[in-house]
Amino acid sequence: MITTVEQEELRRTVRAVLGRNPPARPAPDADPGYDETAWRLLAEQVGAFGLAVPEAYGGAGGTAMETHVVCEELGRTLTPVPYLGSAVLATEALLACGAVEPLPGLADGSRVAALAWAESGTWDPAAIRAHVEDGRLTGVKDHVLDGARADLFVVPARTRDGDLAVYVAEPSTPAVRVEPLATLDLTRPQARVTFDAAPVRLIGADGHRVLERLIAVAATAISAEQLGGGERCLEMTRDHVKTREQFGRPIGSFQVIRHRLADLYVLVESARSVSYDAARALASGAPDLAVRAATAQAYCAEAFSAVAAETVQLHGGIGFTWEHEAHLYFKRAHSAAKLFGDAAWHRARLGPLVLGG
């Protein structure tokens, strides 16, 4: 294995907590929400929300390797907690800007921060139009993870000169309108946040650098979720085809089924290799981090999508029902593939980096 003994210990703990508290599965008419119990237990028993926060600010002083483990486990169970948005993205954004004041609240899981980033359906920094004049932010941010519960927004926006900078805004003002969205993937709440001359505070003047890092952070973390989801789908499908009988024998004894499971296994193990590699690059500040992270998301997004789709197909009719978990993973595979740029976008980013010339 690539991970350390401590990381594997962390994994066992997280898996045990999540396993003892299987998330309630949402009804079709439910709004996306959080599993408050898992949230509290992960915060209190594991300290999961502060893994990447320095000890001086109430965290464990870990690296991306530790949050990666948590993301992978959350990807396995799809437990809805404000982790990716708050404990990974917003926390990393604040750290990258040296804005440490909110960190203790985030580290103990008592407060939620959200990174309000995407505009017009893209995370491309060049597409950002939100702008700040005289300390007031105007713009619309979409697909904001954990936005509906956020106590604080971290917002990349343009300065008066058109440069990119990073600001923080409080939701407790009428100038900030937070609109929870109905999502296809009910396990991952999103919000649209409209800033209408909302008072903000500058925390980072070098927005480009921060966003470049955050693209890598996001791509890496979501690849861990994709890996976890793919693992769980593979297990579920393997168990199903071993027991489900048709034509008088387990369907897992049919060669086409066997071979497709083999292909899924290869996808999942390969996803593990590239995802862990990106985490290691992030944790060690590797110079080719952008390449590592884009590779991880480009590969893992398609791998998880393929595995989740086959999970539905190989479960047959039951895999198409709301009652069975397969559709949750199928929908998560979709949202995970679209958040922070899809696989084609990451491949396009890789183009100039790896094709040269």
Binding site: W322, H327, F330
Partner: protein, 387 residues
């Protein structure tokens, strides 16, 4: 002007005229993934069609049909789909049970059962699949036995479309105790509105319900409500499936074309049409639909009058896979916006519904795997694998 063209004009004019007034809002209602929509309106519409003599076109005139040629039926389905007329509610009666009764039923059954199908007074559903059987249709556990001149039925069927609305169900039952697989089965016609029948909708990943579970707990039907002899059930059930994918295929393709055009239109709106990778997939999808259309034309030309052969397996395999890929393409064209539904609770957009519902296209009505087995065995003559 050919007879087909004259008929096309007649149908088109009638549809244009018909889809006004009380049916003005009926266009586009229903269909795969949206079977829950506006059932009452669609039922009223189909009765309106019946009044105009436009149901059961391909049936012989003596049973209330119009003896329409293959060409005319194709024309009708194409025009129907082009007009975006509502999805039919009695297609199971018209296309499956009716032809089966005409081919295998008694005169008494024809007299009793066919007119209410033509008039859309009685709706039908199909009781084939069972839980735990999946694609293995011969794995029938539902039992029936004669009891004082009536069949008494117990067991469970699943994936039954329209079961909540149907008046009748044709049910494959095991009537010979101790028999296995294809033997000892019978094809019974069972009234749905009785105490021994319970219907439970299945909620799908779309959040809606097209399919149902049907529980038979001592349900009764008259001893005469059997098609063919006891033990003939498998043969007749397979013949019914053979009727399933006939000329309606071309109408289905018109619907597909409408969906594809919608996706292309969306791609023009979002700018995805200028993305070279998506553009190539859009053209591929367009080509795929052409392939299906031309395959269907060849099949129609070849087997105009005969029963569908393995062509239906090709057709199912190709359209199921094509439609699933269209769903994937559509959601990719939508980009990040595809993560967000139209409204709450779980009010999905057409594209999202297409994306999700098309996952079932490669599973139901014979999965891709089953179709490949059929082609390998019946067309290519490859040896059966050891089972």
């Amino acid at each position: 002007m050919s007879r087909g063209e004259a008929f096309r004009r007649e149908v088109r004019a009638w549809l244009e005229d018909g889809l006004t007034g009380e049916f003005a809002g009926a266009r586009g209602l229903g269909g795969p993934g949206r079977e829950h929509e506006a059932f009452d309106v669609r039922l009223a519409w189909e009765r309106h069609m019946a009044a105009a003599g436009l149901t059961c076109l391909g049936w012989p005139e003596r049973y209330g049909g119009r003896d329409a040629s293959i060409e005319e039926q194709v024309v009708f389905h194409e025009e129907y789909a082009l007009a975006r007329a509502p999805a039919r509610v009695n297609h199971i009666g018209e296309n499956l049970l009716g032809p089966t009764i005409i081919a295998f039923g008694t005169d008494e059954q024809r007299r009793r059962l066919l007119p209410p199908i033509v008039a859309v007074e009685e709706l039908w559903c199909q009781g084939y699949s069972e839980p735990g059987a999946g694609s293995d249709l011969a794995n029938v556990q539902t039992r029936a036995a004669l009891d004082g001149g009536r069949w008494r039925i117990s067991g469970q069927k699943v994936w039954t479309s329209l079961a909540t609305e149907a008046d009748w169900c044709f049910v494959i039952c095991r009537t010979e105790p101790g028999s296995t697989r294809h033997r000892g089965l019978s094809y019974l016609l069972v009234p749905m509105r009785q105490n021994g029948v319970e219907v439970r909708p299945i909620v799908q990943m779309t959040g809606t319900s097209e399919f149902n579970e049907v529980f038979f707990d001592g349900a009764l039907t008259d001893g005469a409500n059997i098609v063919g002899a006891p033990g003939d059930g498998w043969r007749i059930a397979m013949a019914t499936l053979g009727f399933e994918r006939g000329v309606a295929t071309l109408g289905q393709q018109v619907g597909f074309r409408g969906e594809l055009e919608g996706v292309i239109e969306l791609a023009r709106e979002t700018g995805a049409v200028a993305d070279p990778l998506l553009r190539d997939r859009l053209v591929r999808s367009w080509i795929g639909l052409e392939v299906m259309r031309l395959n269907a034309v060849r099949t129609m030309a070849g087997v105009a009058a005969g029963a569908p052969g393995p062509e239906s397996s090709i057709s199912k395999l190709v359209w199921g896979t094509w439609h699933r890929e269209l769903g994937e393409l559509a959601i990719d064209v939508l980009g990040a916006a595809g993560m967000v539904a139209d409204g709450r609770p779980y009010d999905l957009s057409d594209v999202q519904r297409l994306y999700l519902f098309s996952r079932a296209d490669t599973i139901y009505a014979g999965s891709n795997e089953i179709q490949r087995d059929i082609i390998a065995e019946r067309v290519l003559g490859l040896p059966r694998e050891a089972r």
